[in-house]
């Protein structure tokens, strides 16, 4: 390797750039090992190491040896995905977060809570800057730089999401939609940053956000139709004889929407991370540099780029569907008319 370094420094740099994520994750594995798999004897690792590069002898590896090896990979992945009370900066150490228990409820500050606060801090800083620029702005001055970038997103949420789906009176819900969009987007993106964690990959966070959408949707429906109209909507406009079927169905229907929102965001954010980590761990499980260079690194880079796209997409979808649910709930027409209207558009 040193000879190559002397002769072809550029090629060496390329190789280092490709291997850098692997080396970082090797540290991660080393960090995770003492915590989760301290009981696994060193012997099994070496036993797997020899037959791994060839496919057929791998079958011959005894089952008790293979199982802890894969459990280790799974544990490391879970360690990355799940919430815990340690904020780790892996090669440098970690910060233990305070545990707070109030009245029997564990409201300790976990890694994801810290990430939520980091997201909030970034949002507040960015938007206080942008907002102060807007306060000084006259209608004749054009926005530029960060202000322009944020304006593009805000304008997109305002016209294409809120106005398009809610229609008249969208201004009331705009504050919620904008906040939820930027909040989720930044949570998603910070999960892709080294040492970051995806708060939106935690079902508790997405459930809370979806609950906000649920309550806003119900309040919108109550405001638009009144208590009587709201209850009438639960019967689905059918004959009273069918109410015994319709009311439970419509009642469940109220909750399926936020549950779908919850699971969609949570599963998307979690799945991407699991795929990236699994791709990297394939090279560790097989203990092969060829697999690492040929498969793990390029594929995980590809998935990473895909995750960048998904981060934007899922933030958009959550906001879009929230707006759509609010729009459906506060639609002034009846069900059939509305569907006809949708079909026309």
């Amino acid at each position: 390797m040193k000879r190559v370094n002397v002769i072809q420094a550029k090629a060496f740099l390329k190789v280092v750039a490709l291997l850098a994520p692997l080396l970082l994750n090797a540290n991660g594995l080393a960090f995770a090992l003492p915590e989760n798999a301290s009981g696994v004897p060193q012997k099994t690792a070496t036993a797997v190491a020899a037959p791994a590069p060839v496919a057929s002898p791998a079958v011959a590896v005894p089952a008790p040896a293979a199982a802890p090896e894969e459990e280790k990979a799974g544990d490391v992945i879970m360690h990355h995905i799940l919430d815990n009370n340690v904020f780790a900066f892996e090669p440098f150490g970690s910060v233990n977060l305070p545990r707070i228990v109030v009245g029997g409820f564990d409201i300790s500050i976990t890694k994801h809570v810290v990430m939520l606060w980091v997201v909030s801090a970034i949002l507040l800083v960015v938007f206080s800057v942008v907002g102060s620029k807007y306060k000084k702005m006259t209608p004749r001055t054009a926005p530029k730089g960060l202000v322009n970038a944020m304006e593009a997103l805000v304008e997109f949420i305002r016209t294409d999401v809120a106005k398009a789906n809610i229609g008249v009176g969208y201004e009331k819900y705009l504050v919620y939609l904008l906040t939820v969009f930027f909040f989720i987007l930044l949570c998603n993106l910070l999960g892709l940053v080294p040492y970051g964690a995806t708060a939106t990959g935690n079902i508790n966070v997405t459930l809370t956000l979806a609950t906000f959408t649920f309550f806003i949707t119900q309040v919108a429906a109550l405001k638009a139709h009144g208590v009587k109209g709201y209850l009438a909507h639960l019967t689905g406009g059918t004959h009273p004889a069918l109410w015994i079927i319709m009311i439970p169905i419509e009642f469940i229907g109220l909750f399926t929407k936020p549950v779908a929102l919850t699971i969609r965001l949570f599963a998307n954010m979690t799945a991407g991370h699991i795929v990236i980590l699994s791709l990297i761990f394939i090279s560790f499980i097989l203990k092969s540099y060829i697999v690492a260079v040929a498969m793990s690194v390029p594929f995980s880079i590809f998935i990473y780029l895909l995750e960048l796209f998904v981060a934007f997409l899922q933030a958009f979808i959550f906001t879009m569907l929230s707006a759509l649910f609010i729009g459906l709930a506060s639609a002034h027409e009846g069900h059939e008319e509305h569907e006809a209207g949708v079909a026309h558009h």
């Binding site: 995905i81 409201i107 809570v113 939520l116 909030s120 938007f127 907002g131 966070v205 809370t208």
Partner: protein, 175 residues
Amino acid sequence: MLTSGIILLAGSLLSPNPGLIFWTAITFVIVLLILKKIAWGPIIGALEEREKGIQSSIDRAHSAKDESEAILRKNKELLAKADAESDRIIREGKDYSDKLRSDITEKAQSEAKKMIALAKDEIEQEKRRALDVLRNEVADLAIKGAEKIIKANLDADTQKKIVDSMIQDLSTKRN
């Protein structure tokens, strides 16, 4: 496959964590309220103001365009009118000049005819007068001749006959 199975079986992905729910709700609501105050209010206000500004600019541009089109139409109308007017004036001038020319030539011709006729009359009169004078002269001459003849030849009757026949001869020759 086995890894994902273990992850699912671990169950901790779906385990509820009331603390996290609590912190998410608190954080989100606080962020929402602060952002509403510092960012969304001014941004949306500015966007709406700009939207209105752009709309009014477009409206103004449209009205200006309509106005300029109206002015252009009016100008074209005026130009067409002026063209027609000038055409009419030229045509009238031409007609008038034609008429004037024909009038003048007609008048000149009639005048010339009149003058010619007058001149002819005068010539005729002069001729007649000259003839009369000549006739008187001839008559006087004849009378004087006759006197001499008569003085020489007292036979008056025959003389007279001779004179008469001479006069007759003269007049016939003259005519």
